[in-house]
């Protein structure tokens, strides 16, 4: 991980949704990575999507267009 970059993580209802979110974002040209939900965050599924913090708004808009609910968005 590049320490100079700021990231955000997006949480979803389930791993199924996180997997779809990864595909939707990548198809939209938004770089992202599936990672285990950090231990200190109350999780709704085992995995979440990490994105660049600067792409948060764009990512959430894209996911919403695909009927995906982002349950939490946390800067890390």
């Amino acid at each position: 991980m590049n320490a100079k970059r700021s990231y955000a993580i997006l949480l979803f209802l389930s791993a199924n949704h996180a997997l779809r979110a990864e595909k939707v974002l990548l198809d939209s040209g938004i770089a992202c990575k599936l990672i285990p939900v950090p231990k200190d965050i109350s999780s709704e599924c085992g995995i979440c999507v990490r994105i660049l913090k600067t792409e948060t708004q764009k990512s959430v808009a894209e996911l919403t267009n695909h009927k995906l609910l982002v349950t939490k968005c946390i800067n890390i």
């Binding site: 389930s14 199924n16 997997l19 990864e22 990672i35 285990p36 599924c45 085992g46 995995i47 609910l69």
Partner: protein, 386 residues
């Protein structure tokens, strides 16, 4: 498909064989290199597994022109998918309409529901299995909630007019459930154009995947909130709660999925897409025409169904009028190494419609990997038997 055994396999309507090489490879790759439970852990192998299962959802959704892969529910087979749709959505006082050409995977759950206050109308088809959509319209009443049909009979291969019935459902505001066991992968099916609300599919027939896979695609018009799951349990989501999640697909997918089978299904659906459904259908139509022509040349054979390759799948039912189906099947197997299915094919209503109940028929279920040479051999065998 290398090293084919010399047997002639004409039982593709029960399950397709052989499978494309990529399907076998997908199982091997998954088992040797991934093998993890999708959606249950956060480690890299679980994520890889999850991606493959998700890819299978996308492949299936794309195949049927459906936008949302998360509304593709995987089940252990199409029977479970049909049970889910019927028992999950129909309530006491509801009326459901079906045809007289259905498999018991449709009939039996409906008959069970009848005991719980659901009214059922079975619309009679013609003796060749064809259905007049107007007969369905005449059966619609104020309490009708759903029309549930197979796309094609597993006995005679007769195609049912799902596009026209889909329109009727839209006009009357009814849910349309389609059993695509005999057609998914061999015929173009479009959930939007055909107005299908609930599409049940199996993985191991014309989609050329493995047994233990199937599913139900839930269209946007279906009220998911009032749709009961067949089972509750672990989903890998909302683990802190003792109540079933309400979101899809988790609501309907309790317990570990057949992820190895779904890896195979993803490969097989991609193979179907790359091969081209039109090409598969064209080849099977040619084979069916060739088979029908050969069978018609044998005087002692009685054919059932449309007896026209354009109005049926690559499944053909017949009897040799001096032999029971079981006798014909045994001779074909033991003397000629030709494997087919005989009897009632789990579809007593269809046989009553056709006029072959309770004896049944001999059924040749052709598939993409069959050849005209194999059909020629079978015709010669039947000529010898007759």
């Amino acid at each position: 498909m290398t090293n084919l055994i010399k047997k002639i396999y004409f039982d593709n309507a029960a399950t397709s064989w052989p499978k494309p090489d990529c399907v076998v490879q997908a199982v091997t790759d998954f088992t040797q290199n991934i093998g993890s439970n999708p959606g249950r852990s956060g480690h890299s192998a679980s994520v890889k597994s999850g991606r493959i299962v998700y890819a299978a959802r996308e492949s299936i959704a794309r195949l049927f022109n459906f936008a949302d892969p998360l509304r593709v529910i995987f089940t252990s087979n199409i029977t479970e998918a049909l049970n889910l749709a019927l028992k999950g959505l129909l309530k006491s006082g509801d009326h459901v309409i079906t045809s007289s050409m259905e498999h018991n995977s449709m009939m039996r759950p409906m008959r069970q529901l009848e005991k719980h206050g659901i009214e059922m109308t079975v619309v009679n088809c013609e003796q060749n299995g064809c259905l007049d959509p107007a007969d369905l319209s005449r059966s619609v009443k104020s309490t009708t909630k759903m029309i549930a049909l197979n796309h094609a009979s597993n006995v005679t291969g007769t195609l049912l007019p799902i596009h026209e019935v889909g329109k009727i459902c839209t006009d009357y505001g009814l849910l349309f459930l389609v059993d695509t066991a005999q057609t998914a992968g061999a015929f173009p099916i479009d959930m939007e154009e055909d107005h299908i609300d609930l599409l049940a599919f199996t993985g191991h027939k014309s989609l050329y995947g493995l047994s233990g896979t199937g599913g139900l695609i839930i269209g946007d018009r279906v009220d998911v909130e009032n749709f009961l799951p067949l089972k509750e349990g672990g989903t890998g989501s909302r683990s802190e709660e003792e109540f079933q999640p309400i979101f899809l697909p988790d609501k309907f997918e309790s317990g570990t999925l057949n992820f190895t089978g779904l890896a195979a299904l993803n490969a097989s659906v991609n193979w179907v897409r790359d091969t081209g459904i039109e090409n598969i259908r064209r080849h099977e139509t040619e084979l069916t025409k060739h088979l029908l022509s050969g069978l018609k040349s044998i005087p002692k054979i009685k054919l059932y169904g449309p007896i026209n390759e354009n109005f049926q799948t690559a499944t053909v039912s017949f009897n040799l009028n001096n032999l029971l189906p079981s006798e014909t099947g045994l001779i074909l197997d033991e003397k000629f190494n030709i494997l087919c299915r005989i009897g009632l094919h789990c579809a007593p209503a269809a046989h009553k419609t056709v006029g072959t109940f309770p004896t049944g028929t001999v059924r040749f279920g052709l598939g993409y990997f069959n050849s005209k040479a194999e059909i020629n051999q079978a015709i010669k065998a039947l000529e010898a038997i007759s």
